[in-house]
Amino acid sequence: MKIIVCIKQVPATTAEKRYRADLRLDRAASEAVINPLDEYAIEQALRLQESGAVESVGYLSMGPEQAGEALRRALAMGGDEAYLVTDAALAGSDAWATARVLAAALDRLAPDVALMGMASDDARGSLVPAAVAAMRGVPLLSYGSELQLHGTTARVRRLTAAGFDMLEAPLPVVASVTDQVGEPRYASLKGIMAAKRKPMETWSLADLGLAPADLHGAALTRVVEIRKPEAKPPTERIENVGPDEAVTRIADWLAARKLI
């Protein structure tokens, strides 16, 4: 049983994001980390490996050369090997192009489970898992709070408003997990040292049998504008008044907005 965890290198969550003139994220401008939501996918894969349900855990990333750092960090947490798809023609890839490339790489790696985080912290499109599953023609088990493997089937437990659903599909599958799987581990010192010796392969588009033309110039979509969400009006505070006065003022405020 083999799991490939697809990970993305993103700007640190707390970093202020900068955009270039062509409206692409300036990835050199801020500290880069493993997409925090992907860390849960890594944790899920490593827990399955520790339980004996999975023999090998590998990582796959598409990105610029420095995305190799994210793969190395993932290897420090555990797992066996990593694959980086990097190619100048991939700059500016959208979710569709990313999925196309990941699907081609996964065809080559043939894992039982291609595991992903539920979204990336920078774009938050949440499109890639479904797109990869569709392109590969395999079932999608998405938004799992836990991934289980039983013989030739995979299951995810997905939390719902009413409780949870259990989704099951025959292997191979694409699965995505949420932050409910459990806190990602810290890389240990020995893990960091061992990661330097674990195999990492770098592939170009040509290595995957793809040509830039297959990707329609790396994107089917076009970013036309980027703006910050409108700032919320400042919070109104009711302070230093008695409870009766406070209740009256809150009730008036709600009534003025027809909320009560």
Binding site: Y186, A187, S188, K190, G191
Partner: protein, 390 residues
């Protein structure tokens, strides 16, 4: 002597800083208030392989160089001085084995210490033998293939929680401390050993400082380090290296206080402006930063000297500990000043850091002892005969 930080050093710093900020900083105030040893953090450090950095890989350690070991201690101490003592004392307690232990002794004990399964401690100081180590009274009497240890130790960091102690005792009372002292590995579950009392301390309150009693504790002769009479030399060789950890701890405490003071001054407003925009505060912060940086660079230089095994390493480690300890005291005191009245109350961490800083001027040789070591080396270098002061 030259040194340069490597990519591995920076990676280690980032790793330990993340761990410390997320897992240790939030615990520091409670550890101080309860004066309870943070067993959970000991487990965390063991799990992350951070208690085995001074042991060779063949014993399960990670064999980091001394600069890396300083960075580890520094980053933990930046969050909490008590917790930084866990790797510091693990190294201190096992250094006598590194210095004088046989291969058989190392194989017997190092794997359990490198994994963090066992804790080690260093039992030298006695009530009447502090700076004047040679006055120790604990005795080790030969009895067949063993020694019987009798006496008391005081101020032994982690003495009550360690599984293994390196104990210094007189095997030849006539020869006195310098020539008649020997070193032993004592497992603390041996009958006759007890740790009846802990000190109530100003700082590093979560780190138990114990009084130890030895009542005819039977120690196999196979647990003697080196030969009879080697004890003083082993103790001094240990301290010459271990005080580097105290320098690193002091720098970490200073950096933690400085970082907090900068953050506080940036949001505190008085007289209609941010406190950090006042030149008087800026000058204080600049002094704190430059002094901390100077102490850090001196400590890394000393670490490189220890790695190289240079003959004058005691000079370097004493210089580093002297400067770093005094810097920690000054910087933490100034951090309290930057916070004003808020610095004096336990709602903010700088008063704890100030209390923690004081110990770095006292243990593993007071600052006065460091000056004696530095001065003796100076005289030796100049060819001036050294006379022992009275």
């Amino acid at each position: 002597m030259t040194y340069r930080l490597t990519a591995d050093h920076l990676e280690l710093r980032a790793m330990v800083r993340e761990l410390a900020e997320e897992q240790i900083t939030p615990r520091a105030a409670a550890i101080d208030a309860s004066a309870e040893f943070p067993w959970d953090l000991k487990e965390l450090l063991a799990r992350q392989d951070l208690l085995g950095t001074s042991f060779e890989t063949r014993y399960g350690g990670t064999e980091l160089d001394n600069i890396a070991q300083c960075i580890l201690v520094e980053e933990i101490a930046r969050a909490d001085a008590t917790t930084s003592l866990i790797p510091i004392v693990q190294k201190l307690g096992s250094l006598p084995l590194s210095v004088a232990g046989s291969e058989e002794q190392k194989q017997r004990y190092f794997p359990r210490l490198a994994s963090g399964e066992w804790l080690a401690a260093f039992a030298l100081t006695e009530a009447g033998a502090g700076s004047d180590v040679a006055q120790l009274r604990t005795r080790a009497r030969r009895d067949g293939d063993a020694y019987l240890l009798t006496g008391s130790k005081r101020f032994i960091t982690h003495g009550s929680i360690a599984n293994l102690l390196t104990v210094f005792a007189l095997t030849d009372t006539d020869a006195g401390g310098r020539k008649g002292m020997s070193a032993f590995i004592v497992e603390t579950d041996t009958p006759g050993f007890s740790a009846p009392r802990l000190e109530h301390k100003m700082g590093i309150r979560g780190s138990p400082t114990a009084e130890l009693h030895f009542d005819e504790v039977r120690v196999p002769a196979a647990n003697r380090l080196g030969e009879e009479g080697d004890g003083f030399r082993i103790a001094m060789a240990t301290l010459d290296q271990s005080r580097l950890s105290v320098a690193a701890q002091a720098i970490g405490i200073a950096q933690g206080a400085l970082d907090f003071a900068v953050g506080y001054a940036a949001q505190r407003e008085q007289f209609g402006e941010r406190v950090v925009d006042m030149q008087g505060i800026q000058f204080m912060l600049a002094d704190m930063a430059s002094q901390t940086e100077a102490a850090r660079q001196l400590t890394y230089a000393a670490a490189a000297v220890v790695d190289a095994g240079d003959a004058d390493l005691a000079y370097w480690t004493s210089c580093a500990k002297l400067i770093a300890g005094d810097t920690a005291m000054r910087v933490t005191t100034d951090a309290v000043q930057v916070l004003g009245g808020y610095g004096y109350v336990t709602d903010y961490p700088v008063e704890r850091m100030m209390r923690d800083a004081k110990i770095t001027q006292l243990y593993e040789g007071t600052q006065q002892i460091q000056r004696m070591i530095v001065a003796r080396q100076l005289l030796q270098r100049s060819g001036v005969p050294v006379r022992r002061s009275r």
